[in-house]
Structures are given as C-alpha cells and as structure tokens.
C-alpha cells in the first residue's frame, strides 16, 4: 500500500479529532459513531493491523474507512510531520480495498455508475447541460472561462438551481463564460477519494484532453470538489489550467460595482466547505462577498475556518451515505450549530453542502427557522 511506511507512526494522541482551539471534537465520523476506531488515529491503527493481517477486511472495517469524509480536519490539527498525508493514507487504504474488490456496495455502485453513465445518477449524458436551458449561458466557444458545473450541479435539482444562479450572476457581471453541456465529464474528485485511482486517471485524462482540444485556459468551478481536482491533481497529469472557484471571481466583482447590491437584511452564518477551506485555503472570498452585502450580519459558528465542521458529504459520502443517518449525522450537528447561533440563513459555497444541509434542516424540522442558501443565491436576492 502507498504510504505503508508511515502508518505505524501514529501515536493516537487525538489532536487530529479536535479543533485547533480544543473546543470540541471535529472529526465528523468520530462525532457520529463515537468509537475511537472511527477517528483518524483509530483508522491509522486499524490500517496497520489490517496490513499485518491482525484484522480482516470486514463490513465494519469498510464502514470505518469509507465513512471518512476526507474533510482534512485531521490534516489540519495532527501535530506530527506526516500530518499532510493523513487523508492520502486513508485514500490509499481504500485503493487497496478497491483493488481487492472488497468494498461497500454503495461505493461499488457509485463507481459503476460513473464508469457506465459518466455520472452517479445513471442519467443520460445528453441531459447533462439541461440545467442551463432557458438561460443565456452558452456552450463554450472560445470564452474567457469554462464554467465547470460537475455531476451534482448538472443533475441534482437543488444544485441545478445554484448552478443557474451562479451562471446568471457571472453573466450579469459581464464575465465571459461558456459550459461544456452534454460534453462535460465527471471531474473525478470523489472517484479518487473513494480509491478508484485508475478510473480517476481515466476521467482526468479525458477532461484534460477535452479542455486542451477546446482551447480552455481558465476554469471557474461551481463545486469546490472539482476545483480541488483541477487545481491539485490535474497538473500532475499534464492538465495545467488557471482554476477558480466561483466565489473567487465574484469577490472581485462586487467592489468594482459590476454587481450593484441593495440592502438585504439577514443574520447569516457561513459554512466552510472542506474542499474550498481546509483543502485549498480559501476562507476569505465567500466571507468578503457576504460582508459586502448591505444589511447582512455575518456571524461565525464556533467551528469555522480551519476549524469548520464538515457537512458529512465529502469523500464520496454524499453519494454513498455511509456516514449519514440519525441525529448525530454531521449535517444535522452542523445545522444545530447554526441554529444555536441564531442564524436565519446558513450560507454555503458548495452544491453538495447545500443538499446535505438542506436535508438536515428538514430532518430537524426547522424549515421555518433556517434557510440554506448558496452565497450566490444571497447575492442574487440583494441585486438591485
């Protein structure tokens, strides 16, 4: 296994499962399951035991490994020099399991669907661009930016709305964007996180070739997961593009009055998506956008920024739901935290987080108290 030479170095001291200020546990799987085995240290020790043949690849072991949301809280807070590799180690272990074809059925189904249909929903590829129908968003043809939406933005009803909102905002601000429509492929970020390295490489290569063929140099992504793959994984495979998350573009447009805003009064708290925040260090852009809306009162939850608590949708869990369910599912914990702060709007900058948290608000039966909105949707409400 890759990283095998590191696994024994974990001291299981537990810094990894806390926030940096120690106010509470911040590993989403540990918060849900509460056995040490579901914490990063637990995983490290169990992976070692598995490699040494002291334990087997059981259903529970699979649950322990595949419930990891790859949120990188452990990477942020582990005190050892190998901290950077913690999530990589968990993914490497998943890779081994995928290679041995002993994985949880929902993971198998997800990978199969991507392989066969190019998306996890088994939807026809020719409907991938339907979300943009009835809008002025054009098919990419030498535009300055490719607007890459991803599987969730293309097929999930809630996320499609966000994709349209972001696309329309960018157009309104005069940004030259085009989409790939039915030619868009899965970015593969979750495929990689679920341990299917071969399929990821295949998808990445397809995308890189397509982008190059179309002359694409700059990309704006809707989804922080795609942003992560394009920014961090594609360059190693020959795909070097200028990549932005849409909030990074919007943040420069508001002060320059490309998007003039009127007052919109609301008490808002912002949920950092892990693949924008911890994985890519972008904490400010979404906050700057929210702060620039007159009338918005931005309040921070105790778990924010580097200490943000994951919604539980990362690492493939959005699709496999291995981490979901029950009162202590991470999305419900997160929604309760927002409610405790007295926020009326829980702002997100990721279509996966939007869906996860929307579902949690419903599960908590708090639809009358808290609304989950993408940053772009809040900006749209404030447009004059």
């Amino acid at each position: 296994m890759k990283y095998e030479e590191i696994v024994h170095r974990c001291f299981r001291c537990g810094y990894c499962k806390l926030t940096g200020d120690y106010i509470g546990f911040n590993c989403p799987t540990y918060r849900k399951f509460r056995f040490e085995t579901y914490s990063p240290g637990g995983r490290m020790w169990l992976i070692r035991a598995w490699l040494n043949d002291e334990i087997k690849n059981t259903e529970r072991f699979q649950q322990i490994l595949f419930s990891c949301a790859t949120c990188a809280n452990c990477v942020e807070h582990c005190v050892f020099p190998f901290s950077e590799d913690l999530v990589n180690i968990f993914i490497a272990a998943r890779e081994e399991m995928v290679n041995n074809a002993v994985i949880p059925p929902p993971v198998r189904d997800y990978l199969k669907n991507i392989n066969i249909s190019g998306n996890p929903y088994k939807e026809p590829a020719d409907q991938r661009g339907d979300w943009a129908k009835d809008s002025s968003i054009e098919i990419y043809d030498g535009h300055e930016y490719l607007f890459y939406v991803g599987c969730v933005g293309s097929y999930d009803e809630r996320a499609k709305k966000i994709a349209r909102t972001v696309g329309n905002l960018l157009l309104r601000a005069g940004v030259s964007i085009g989409i790939l429509g039915e030619k868009e492929n899965c970015d593969g970020n979750e495929v990689r996180a679920l341990g299917e390295a071969g399929l990821f490489q295949f998808l990445a290569q397809q995308n890189i070739d397509l982008f190059k063929e179309r002359g694409i140099k700059k990309i704006i992504t809707l989804d922080p997961h795609a942003f992560n793959a394009f920014k961090n994984d594609y360059p190693g495979l020959g795909g070097k593009f200028e990549v932005y998350h849409y909030t990074q573009i919007l943040t420069s447009l508001i002060p320059s009055h490309e998007l003039p805003l009127k007052e919109y009064r609301a008490k808002v708290t912002y949920h950092d998506p892990c693949y924008l925040g911890r994985h890519n260090g972008e904490y400010n852009a979404p906050r700057k956008i929210l702060e620039s809306i007159p009338g918005v009162e931005l309040i921070e939850m105790p778990h924010h920024g580097e200490n943000a608590f994951c919604c539980g949708g990362g690492g493939g869990n959005f699709f496999t739901d291995i981490l979901g369910g029950g009162e202590d599912s991470p999305n419900r914990i997160r929604v309760r935290e927002a409610l405790d702060m007295g926020a009326r709007i829980l702002a997100v900058a990721c279509p996966l987080c939007a869906r996860m948290l929307d579902d949690a608000v419903k599960a908590e039966e708090k639809e009358d108290q808290l609304e989950v909105l993408d940053v772009a949707e809040i900006v749209t409400r404030a447009l004059s």
Binding site: H8, C13, G14, Y22, I23, W45, F61, F80
Partner: protein
C-alpha cells in the same frame, strides 16, 4: 448476540456497543509498551444511569469493567487485563456548571482537558484550571484518578488536590457524592471538613468506582504569562536552583528538561519557570525577584539565562505543549513511554545521571522532563524514551530500560506515578504491610466481586 451484548445494547443503544473485531483490536491496547489484552465488549454510554446499569450487569455476570478516558496514561492502565467491558467515557463530556465566585467547574466524567480549557478561555477569561501537557483529549476525571499534574501544580499540588468534589458510581451500581456536595449544593471541597473520602477513588485507576462527575477548582488567569529558562551544566546544582526559585513564591510553574538534542542542549539542565501577572509591573516584579534569587549561580559562573529564540516562545507558552507529544516521532515510529516517579527534588542529579546511563546502555533516544510539585515538596521526574513501533528490538530495549527505572525508583526513595501493573505489584510488596492490608480491606469491601479494572491494585496476600 450473547446475553451480555443484548443487555448492553438495551442499556446504551445498539449503536454504542460493540464486540466487533475492530473495536476489540483497538481497545485492547494503548500507545505505550504494555502487551495488549482484548476486551469482550466496548460501550460508549452517555448518562450516569447507563453507567449504573452497566456496572450492575457486570456485577451480575462477574464481568470486569474498565473505564477509559483518552487512553493516554501510556502505562497500560486501560488495557482490560481480564477482558470484560471497556467503558469509553468520552460521550459524557458536558460542562455542567461554572461557579465563578467560588471558582470551580463541574464536569462530566469524560470531559477533556482541552474542552474545559477552551470553554473557560471563551466564557470565563479570568479563570483557568491546572491543565497537564498531555494531549488535550485526555480526560479530567482520568487525570485526577491517576494523580496527574498540570500547569498549576507547582503552586497548588497534584491535580487531584484541586478537586472540589466527586460523583462516583460505586462497584455496587449505587451513585455516591463525595465532598461538600454530599451535604451542600456547593462543590467547593472534596472532603474537609468532613472525612475526606475522595481518597477511596483518587489514585485507584477506576478499581474502586467510576467518576461520573467532578468539580475542578479554578484559579485566576492573569493577563500576561511569560517563561524564562535558567541553564546549568551542573546537575547537582539543580535542587538548589529549584529551592531558590520556589522560595520566592513567584513562579507559576517550574519545569526542568534535559535532553541530548538539539546539540546545544546536550548535558545541560534547563530549569524553566513561568511567571504571570495582570500588569507589566506585576510580571516584571516577579521576574526580578527570581533573577535576584538566581544571581549567585550566575556570579559563580554555574549557569545563566538562555536567550529564548522568539520562534520557541509560543511553543513553550502553549497549553498543553504539543511538543511533548512530538517526542513520539523522534524515532519516526509513533511511540514514547515514560516512567514518572514522584520523588524528592534533591534526587534530581541521580535521576538525570541514571536517565543518561540507561539511554546509552540501551541505545535509546531520551528526554528527562520534570515538573516541580507543590512548592518543591517533590517532583515528577519523567524518564522518557522514544521508540519506533515497527522496531521490536527497540521496543524491547525501551521496556528493559523502564524496568531498570522501576528498580531504581525504590532505591532512591521515589514513589511510582501511574504505575504499570508490575510497578503496582512492586509497590505493594515493598510498602508498609499494614498500609497494604488497609488497601486490601478497602478494595475488597468496595468491590467484593473484583470487577473494577481488575489486575490493577490487585492484592498480594
């Protein structure tokens, strides 16, 4: 499912009990060097009532129960030596009350040091507790159960001296209040003026009961805090240096470290003292008094103050010190263990010599870490060795070195702190026979079925 498994699931809910190989593997071991032993079940309860039910069940079934906090004592105290049920306490982590005026906090038995510290910093910035340098997941209840020490130990004694009261589930399953809270709504004293029953639980490693709530005494948090390090290459002078510093009564915490790396540290003894103040004047006043007290050592060219590089200051001032945990990676191998006897400060020179001797004899990476206790009445001297978990020879050598420490401790009049089972046996064998008899009476009366963390404080006749 076995009957016990069914019953446990009824008590804590199916999701919070396991007898699966993964939990059995993990909870069979701690990060130290003791051999593993598997539990039969692991439970993660969330209420006192659940703990009571578990203990009652264990009594009926004559099955051991082993309470566990973060499992960081390192000396095998949470390894279920006779199987049974490991109770992971960390779901019981609520901070129930802070009494600002009387300066105490009541927390549940699985609350972590880090959590209380962060909570106080945020909500009661003028209060603090005596936080140890253990990783912040370490639990407060476990720490007092093993008589831990923290940042206020030089001024206030063991962390267990700073307890304001306990709620304990006895081996019978009954809940019992210990201290002023037995009679009053206030948790301000663990015993006095009543007979101090806290001694039936503190220091017993869960072998007499499970602490489900405790009051932790809080102390003023000053606005400023600073550290200075006095260095000498004459180990024999360290007791004098400590004596002078503690005589001033100006220091918050006094630590000593001696280690071979980086090279500039080798063969030196670093006495670091922390000072606090609400104003610059207060801080400087304390600093000057201590400087003055140490002047004679400087004049005699026996030592001096180390210039602390600015990058090092935050490391020294953080609580807990993360660098303490990093010792586990010195051999790139995820392990360190220490024996930390409580011993008189005058024995420092012998201890530091012994540490170096053992490190060289067994070829080990070492660090000597000392915390002065209660104004200098004693110190905890940690003989710490880093090891590589994937190198069985190095692990065996570390075990051997630590075994030698165990023998050495008794010779120099030390008392084991958080002793391994073997050290517990040695302590019992060597102590006053009537003390041993009293301990036996207490244990057998409280826990007639011997279900509480058995193997620990187990009595030789």
């Amino acid at each position: 499912m076995t009957d016990i498994m069914h019953s446990l699931a009824d008590i804590v809910g199916e999701d919070y009990v396991s007898s699966q190989p993964e939990e059995i593997y993990f909870y069979a071991r701690d990060p130290g060097l003791m051999p593993p032993h598997e539990p039969d079940y692991v439970v993660v309860p969330s209420t006192v009532e659940e703990i009571q039910e578990i203990v009652r069940l264990a009594n009926r079934e004559k099955t051991p129960v082993v309470p566990m906090g973060a499992g960081l004592a390192l000396t095998g105290l949470i390894i279920p030596l006779k199987g049974g049920i490991v109770i992971d306490m960390k779901r019981m982590n609520r901070i129930l009350e802070v009494n600002e005026g009387a300066r105490y906090a009541i927390v549940e038995g699985g609350t972590s040091q880090g959590q209380l510290s962060a909570y106080l910093e945020k909500n009661y910035p003028r209060l603090r507790h005596s936080i140890p340098d253990a990783p912040p997941t370490a639990t407060i209840a476990a720490n007092v159960t093993i008589h831990g020490q923290g940042r206020l130990t030089q001024q206030r004694g063991f962390n267990s001296d700073m307890v304001g009261g306990l709620e304990v589930v006895l081996p019978s399953g009954e809940v019992c209040k210990i201290g002023s809270c037995a009679l009053s709504f206030g948790w301000f004293s663990k015993g006095p003026p009543l007979p101090d029953l806290s001694g039936l639980f503190l220091g017993w490693f869960g072998a007499t009961g499970i602490i489900t709530k405790l009051a932790v005494k809080l102390y003023p948090r000053k606005k400023f805090r600073d550290v200075e390090i006095f260095v000498t290459d004459r180990g024999e002078l360290v007791p004098d240096i400590v004596y002078e510093i503690t005589h001033t009564e100006m220091a918050e915490d006094v630590l000593i470290f001696t280690q071979p790396m980086p090279l500039m540290f080798r063969d030196n003894h670093h006495v670091s003292f922390y000072i606090t103040g609400d104003t610059d004047e207060e801080l400087e006043f304390k600093r000057k008094l201590i400087w003055k007290a140490l002047d004679r050592f400087i004049k005699a060219k026996d030592g001096g103050f180390m210039g602390i590089p600015p990058a090092m200051k935050p490391t020294l001032l953080e609580m807990p010190q993360r660098s303490a945990s990093r010792l586990a990676d010195v051999k790139r191998g995820g392990g360190f263990e220490y024996s930390g006897p409580i011993i008189m400060v005058e024995k420092y020179p012998e201890c530091s010599e012994k540490l170096k001797e053992l490190a060289s004899q067994y070829g080990l990476a070492y660090s000597g870490m000392v915390r002065v206790i209660d104004g200098g009445h004693s110190m905890m001297f940690a003989f710490a060795f880093a090891f590589n978990r994937s190198d069985p020879d190095m692990m065996e050598n570390t075990r051997k070195a630590l075994k030698e420490v165990s023998d050495f401790v008794l010779k120099v009049g030390g008392v084991y702190w958080k002793p391994t089972v073997e050290e517990q046996r040695m302590a019992l064998e060597n102590m006053d026979p009537n003390t041993r008899k009293l301990m036996k009476m207490i244990k057998e009366n409280l826990d007639p079925n011997g279900i509480m963390n058995p193997g620990n404080w187990e009595f030789i006749s």
